[in-house]
Symmetry: D2
Amino acid sequence: MSTFGDYFRVTTYGESHCRSVGCIVDGCPPGMALSEGDIQPQMTRRRPGQSALTTPRDEKDRVEIQSGTECGFTLGTPIALIVHNEDQRPKDYGGSTMDLYPRPSHADFTYLEKYGVKASSGGGRSSARETIGRVAAGAIAEKYLKLAHNIEIVAFVSSVGKEELFPPSPEYPSYSTNSNFLRLIGTITREKVDEFAPVRCPDTEASKRMTKAIEAFRDKKDSIGGTVMCVIRNVPAGLGEPCFDKLEAKLGHAMMSIPATKGFEIGSGFGGCEVPGSVHNDPFIVTPEVGGISDKKRLTAKTNNSGGIQGGISNGADIYFRIAFKPPATIGQAQTTTKYDFEEGVLEAKGRHDPCVVPRAVPIVEAMSALVIMDALLAQKSREASRSLLPPLPKSLPIRPETTN
Amino acid sequence: MSTFGDYFRVTTYGESHCRSVGCIVDGCPPGMALSEGDIQPQMTRRRPGQSALTTPRDEKDRVEIQSGTECGFTLGTPIALIVHNEDQRPKDYGGSTMDLYPRPSHADFTYLEKYGVKASSGGGRSSARETIGRVAAGAIAEKYLKLAHNIEIVAFVSSVGKEELFPPSPEYPSYSTNSNFLRLIGTITREKVDEFAPVRCPDTEASKRMTKAIEAFRDKKDSIGGTVMCVIRNVPAGLGEPCFDKLEAKLGHAMMSIPATKGFEIGSGFGGCEVPGSVHNDPFIVTPEVGGISDKKRLTAKTNNSGGIQGGISNGADIYFRIAFKPPATIGQAQTTTKYDFEEGVLEAKGRHDPCVVPRAVPIVEAMSALVIMDALLAQKSREASRSLLPPLPKSLPIRPETTN
Amino acid sequence: MSTFGDYFRVTTYGESHCRSVGCIVDGCPPGMALSEGDIQPQMTRRRPGQSALTTPRDEKDRVEIQSGTECGFTLGTPIALIVHNEDQRPKDYGGSTMDLYPRPSHADFTYLEKYGVKASSGGGRSSARETIGRVAAGAIAEKYLKLAHNIEIVAFVSSVGKEELFPPSPEYPSYSTNSNFLRLIGTITREKVDEFAPVRCPDTEASKRMTKAIEAFRDKKDSIGGTVMCVIRNVPAGLGEPCFDKLEAKLGHAMMSIPATKGFEIGSGFGGCEVPGSVHNDPFIVTPEVGGISDKKRLTAKTNNSGGIQGGISNGADIYFRIAFKPPATIGQAQTTTKYDFEEGVLEAKGRHDPCVVPRAVPIVEAMSALVIMDALLAQKSREASRSLLPPLPKSLPIRPETTN
Amino acid sequence: MSTFGDYFRVTTYGESHCRSVGCIVDGCPPGMALSEGDIQPQMTRRRPGQSALTTPRDEKDRVEIQSGTECGFTLGTPIALIVHNEDQRPKDYGGSTMDLYPRPSHADFTYLEKYGVKASSGGGRSSARETIGRVAAGAIAEKYLKLAHNIEIVAFVSSVGKEELFPPSPEYPSYSTNSNFLRLIGTITREKVDEFAPVRCPDTEASKRMTKAIEAFRDKKDSIGGTVMCVIRNVPAGLGEPCFDKLEAKLGHAMMSIPATKGFEIGSGFGGCEVPGSVHNDPFIVTPEVGGISDKKRLTAKTNNSGGIQGGISNGADIYFRIAFKPPATIGQAQTTTKYDFEEGVLEAKGRHDPCVVPRAVPIVEAMSALVIMDALLAQKSREASRSLLPPLPKSLPIRPETTN
């Protein structure tokens, strides 16, 4: 369905060529300052047409808050967000390529199989414009997470084709063991990422390699995929709802719901299968929080192969994960395929197409991350608040030591 | 929470040392033959103690149907399934290692952070016994899927540590491009997989390599991870509920909710990021179904980089995906870590431990796959049935061509 | 929350003075003809200002479909519906009555308690404008129900204050035993009901009594409540999801979620408590369907104290129920009450107010009825379709006799 | 479906003649003392066979906690509760009355229509034994509500047939205007109610009238319905989730899901339709809380026609509502009806039957009330806790005055 979340519920709507796209956010905490200005920046970061490397269409995508706020503060009631579609005319029927062919690796065929009818042009609901509602809703969640817990979410491009930000080396076979990587995710900001626009890979040398790769595929009228890495900092320990709604399961769900994704890994990920438990285990150490919310001593993990989540629950360390995006299905090259009427033919897409969507996926990944964390946070708030009214546990039980609470 | 699915809803319960573990399955189609005999085989496959390579504990795990059937047929009402825990005694408190230490990369620390209290011994709710309810429920879903659509779900071990079933080669850099792999998943059966017990990797040579690897880690009192590959055959086109409940998103959610998972990839997966769109796109061809449910001509994908899903919706091709499992956190080796009281110490686990859980994960992966497909199927059945009562669409609309319906 | 339904999911948004009000409908069957013209009539029937008896404000309330349709047919994707608020200016702060007083029996006090902040003027989310989204969504459900099953939903006013459409008499102590009533609900149409606008009680004499009552309360600057009766005809047997989502439970939920409702009763209702089981039981008879969908013989209930639902499941007979609406809380009379600052004072509402909202509640009751039936229908469609793929049951089981299927 | 609640989720299972009945409770706050002794009393109060006025069957109904607690405290994980069925043998088939007839006003007919198959004997899932899981789960919720907020829930019989606890009088035409009634619900306890067993109407004279009425119907082999009144005290202001999950809507849903219910009314209820707004409105007064949780001054309602809920949200006053129960459908008298094979016949039930279920409904009503309040409380806890981390609102906004917080 088109609803995500149980406590912070986002319902999106909209096709590529209807009147508008948007969403309703239900469950936002009341009394939070909120205006379009909090949402627009991520909308703009998501927008295509920001450089020669991405698709040149310029849609502006101005978001309008319809409800749920007054005098610039949230009321706790549903917040409807709308972005008007500038091009609302579904294409004329008859004879066009799209009426004859299901485009290879597009959703044309499966939408017809599922619904028995499909949007006449563009991707309909499978269009990238569907993600506008996600990004708008995510911006609201982010605002809360920042205000309430100083939570920071930053995504960036970690590879384009075979060009990796951190190519595997004998010393650092994987991300989770690479101290340069761990240092990077501990400090990276969106501002820094955007300095490396349009590729959004925060490394000068890697960025150049990636740009070159994209240009090469563009020039061949081809396309290429890549990966996005995301880090979430300052997440309090205790988020995630086992056994089915473990935090990594919800993150996996969220990320794999983004168009064109093919894979998700958290912490050590697939690379973690190859190292022994004696290396993979994250031992505990004591970390005095410096200048943080609390100056109490706390246990924390010395290494972070877990990616900030253990047993499906956040442990307070940085949460990081990587998402695989396939190459865009629309390419300028001619493709031999088959029409709806079972006749073979050659399909050739016109116009200019985005050879690599990975840079534009960055704010979408951030938005979906915010929705997952927000939902898990509200669930845990309910538990903590309800627990706090109960009589204290007897000392004999294996309770949370006072010192860490 | 502990409920999975919207239409075929499974709610599990149980810790490692409580009276019983099990689940309630709500939404099973009525009138299906069902007895314990349909469920027990997967329970037994999940059971530890099947060989020297897995943990020697023998729990039997006999499942009992409590409700929802009569005279051997489902009533359409909730089906409760129970497996008694033979060892129900939570450990005595005081002085034991587990009271002093949060075990590294276990859920001890995060459960305490989340709930403020935790089970005294074993993993509590984070124990592998939690998966019993999943496997039992999955067996019911599988029975329906087989009866109604001849859907087949088979998982197997595709790697242990660095030992791969299909090591990447210049000719076949990835699974999705490997014709041997594609042939294997087209025909592999559970019987075949179990011939390769205890490793469950259906290849004599690879199986030997993996066994050796596991033994080596066992002898070092260490542990190792690996990957499980799963294929789902005969899934009708049209399953999956965009935009948030895309079929791969639900599969990703399901798989990442299994304990010890670190990654999920579908079809071409992470490898798919590295190939151009012109190679990655799956062109359509016409496939006359031979001896199938229908002998009508249909469109199908010529290659299967999509992994059987496009735009979040099944396209009728084999669905396949891979899951990364980290090495078990419990190892016999001494580990330097920190106690709840912030004092550093050396933790040494006693007894024998499972050096590699990947073979046992096989039936769990199959069960979760069944739950996802069953849920998506019931959603789509509702849509198709409701649509079938509407007047036919005008011919001018881009409807599903008659010939493919 | 602001979402209703599991299969046909409606999420509404909007306050009295924000930019727009509306909803997203997710789960509408694809391929159904749908335009604003299908929705507007009920919007207009809901609209205030239709006569001197109701509030004179004229808001027009033009609905706009934003998404989910193309070329006049539903795509199966979310349908967003918007109605612009003409008066979007929240009132200035300071010194106004509403800032000083929580209005008696309004939601001012409880919204502040719940959210810690509230809309500055109007009812905010508790305003009657909130029901616009419900009515719009209901119209879509109604269209489907009519097309697919010829389901008809008609509500009308059954009492205003003490003026009853069918006053209890020795012969007919209650609705369910009154043959005139049963005849009326078997044939009543919306057109007929609207002939009796503005009171919407389909009886000339009763309508006059009610009009007089309303006028009397209006002249006293007071208000009065009443009841609305609703009938749903041609509902197929089998709808409703026990044990918690019995059809009457969902109807009760739906109706009690309408602002100003105080009670709900189905079939014999509260009156049914007073008659013995020997009278209350509905014996079965055989009804040949005349000119209906099927000419097969079927069992049906001879009497209808059950109100068309038994064991929480529709039995094919007319479903009818009654809803109690309290008198509007806003009255012109002076009321002694207490300010937020704990000081007693006299509150006097300015302007003209609706002395009786019951007639306007009619389309809202119909809309909520449609949402409940639609949701239950989609749930049952899924069950029936999934069951139909299973092998036939053995003859020895107590199955549904062939003749009634 | 068989799940109730979003935050405190209860899933029940079980038919009349299967192995066991019970439930899983997911979302219980961790760290609460809980044992079978907290649950059994309500199980026993629900149990039939407590006197000559109710059915003589004695089933004992011992509840067993399967999971979710350790050392007598909740872990925050799912709590499974089981009650074994002592009579597990479904009746033999062939020739029995129940195989031939759908019993009038029972669920036999509709279950067959819905599921295409039904339990062979007893009521299957529509049996009163289904309510065991509800009562067990409700007892857990009650324990929390009492510990955390001193919330008290007491239900009692308010009428049997035409015998009313408070017959309408010119002075007191309805409950909400009757000062004796309001006094009663302010102090009534379960102990007091049970002093009036088996009728459970806390008034000596009314109790006698009701007993006599039940005996008269029993002697005629007939049955009779009645009403149950329920009060919930000490509910904090702010519970209920508009617009669809208003507190009265959830209460209505919960109550109408109990077998044999025909109506629900809250506060002034149907009687409230007949009084003018000037009388119905509940003015605010200042109430110093005496000996309560807080000694702060608060606003409260002077009268309570609202029944403790305004705008769908609790206002801190007593919540009270009334539920109508129809007469039991199983009667000893002969009934003329029609068989499954369309032949008319005379159905005569054997054995002794419960002539009036209303007294046994008392603990079920209490349990469902507890589930609704618990769920609403956890929702609001999440909101309040999340709001508390935001910066304070500017003074210019219409915020909740400090003095009442």
